[in-house]
């Protein structure tokens, strides 16, 4: 399994934002996506995750190989930490949430309802979900928001453990994740505004 993205173009709200995005990710590799706000990091990640169609180009990995973590963690306030994780484990057809709880130091909080967690604890629970998906490619959108220093370290460890096991990670972030990793600046893929869609010439 390898993630090769070639000449990918994607649109937000019908307007092209990125074009000719190309990069490759081999097992055990991670890549940080950089770029100013609004450049299209989230759009690119959602396109790769299969939530929206690409305007052009291809990505070699099917959405079934990808675990996607968005800004929102998809937690249910009235379910406990363990129940939230167990739900996603059952949806993804895996078993055992103990490793995921341990990796993000949530063991002591397992019985607590998600509504009683702090923002950082919720984020850790959202990230722990990645471990129970059992999928090789992680696509993370601003994963370290509201995490403290210790939690960022936990996150770094989890990503490195995932990479060591042959996994891949694509991370959009503004901060330094605390481990050595390649970077890709999306600014150079910004879609040219004067580009006309061949079909829509009267619209644009």
């Amino acid at each position: 399994m390898e993630l090769t993205v070639s000449d990918l173009a994607c649109a937000r709200g019908g307007i092209p934002v990125l074009e000719a995005v190309s990069f490759a990710l081999r097992p055990g590799e991670a890549l940080l996506l950089r770029g100013p706000n609004g450049i299209g990091k989230t759009t690119l990640l959602r396109t790769l995750a299969g939530l929206q169609p690409a305007l052009a180009g291809t990505a070699s990995a099917p959405p079934e190989a990808i675990a996607y973590a968005a800004h929102a963690d998809g937690l249910k306030a009235t379910l406990s930490v363990a129940e939230n994780l167990t739900f996603w484990a059952r949806i993804f057809g895996t078993s055992g949430i103990d490793a995921a709880l341990a990796a993000f130091d949530l063991g002591d909080l397992a019985g607590r309802q998600a509504q009683n967690l702090s923002a950082g604890q919720k984020r850790r629970l959202g990230l722990a979900r990645l471990l129970v998906t059992g999928r090789p490619i992680w696509i993370l959108d601003e994963p370290t928001v509201s995490l403290d220093v210790a939690s960022v370290t936990l996150f770094g460890q989890a990503v490195r453990a995932h990479l060591a096991g042959g996994g891949m990670a694509l991370i959009a972030t503004h901060i330094d994740p605390g481990f050595d990793v390649a970077e890709l600046d999306l600014t150079r893929f910004r879609a040219a505004p004067q580009r006309l869609d061949d079909f829509d010439e009267a619209f644009a």
Partner: protein, 243 residues
């Protein structure tokens, strides 16, 4: 041989319809004036219904077009879903208010006709009820178009609604028939000659129907052009923001 799909290009569509529309408008006016004048002033009164019957020249064509407008929207929606031609989606959007207007005309003229005939403005007769439901479908469809910002998403969702709505509209028609047998007279026009209205009413009615069809086509083309231009303005504004 040029294919029909060349008109899926918005520019081509605007050019061609721009050339055709004036002639079409004149033709519409001629057919409507001819049909209505013939119908209103040069046909005898019905032996039972008196001169009230003459509202048929508005009622029947409007009712026909109310249903046909929905059919046209269904076809246009399917074309959008299958071939992704934006003009098709915009034509469906353009047809909806016209169809709703036709539905309202049919209901109003029906009420005006029904009052002297049945002694009531409104009855929960199957045909009347079906048209009321059809009106609700139009309202929902128009409201969904208006509510969604992203034009492609709006086109997709309204197309899905149009398809599902068509199935339920047919189902409602059956259900309503089952529910109440009704006062409404049989079909004014049918292949079965026994049931038809007399020839003296029939021919001016055909002219009126032709006039309403032309009116519908004219209005839909006009409105589609407006929608295309609205989309163009939106696209230009978006481009300006990007630059």
């Amino acid at each position: 041989m040029a294919s029909l799909w060349q008109y899926a290009n918005p520019q081509k569509f605007v050019q061609t319809t721009g050339a055709v529309l004036p002639a079409l408008a004149v033709l519409t006016a001629l057919a409507l004036i001819a049909g209505l004048v013939w119908g209103f002033f040069f046909t005898p009164d019905d032996f039972r219904q008196g001169s009230t019957v003459k509202i048929i020249y508005l009622h029947v064509p409007a009712a026909l077009m109310a249903i046909n407008a929905w059919l046209m929207m269904l076809v246009a929606s399917l074309i959008w879903l299958v071939r992704r031609h934006h003009v098709s989606a915009l034509a469906a959007r353009a047809a909806a208010p016209v169809g709703l207007t036709m539905t309202v005309i049919a209901l109003l003229t029906g009420a005006i006709w029904g009052q002297p005939m049945w002694g009531t403005w409104w009855a929960w007769d199957p045909r009347l009820t079906s048209f009321l439901i059809l009106g609700l479908f139009y309202l929902g469809y128009i409201a969904l178009w208006a509510a969604i910002e992203d034009p492609d998403a709006a086109a997709d969702l309204t197309a899905v609604l149009c398809m599902v709505g068509s199935v339920f509209a047919v189902l409602s028609r059956y259900a309503v028939n089952f529910w109440n047998q009704g006062l409404h007279q049989g079909a004014s026009l049918s292949m079965d000659a026994e049931e038809n209205v007399a020839d003296v009413f029939y021919f001016p009615l055909l002219v009126c129907i032709a006039g309403f069809v032309l009116l519908f086509v004219t209005l839909v083309l006009l409105r589609t052009r407006t929608e295309i231009r609205a989309r163009r303005i939106k696209a230009l504004l978006a481009r300006e923001r990007m630059a």
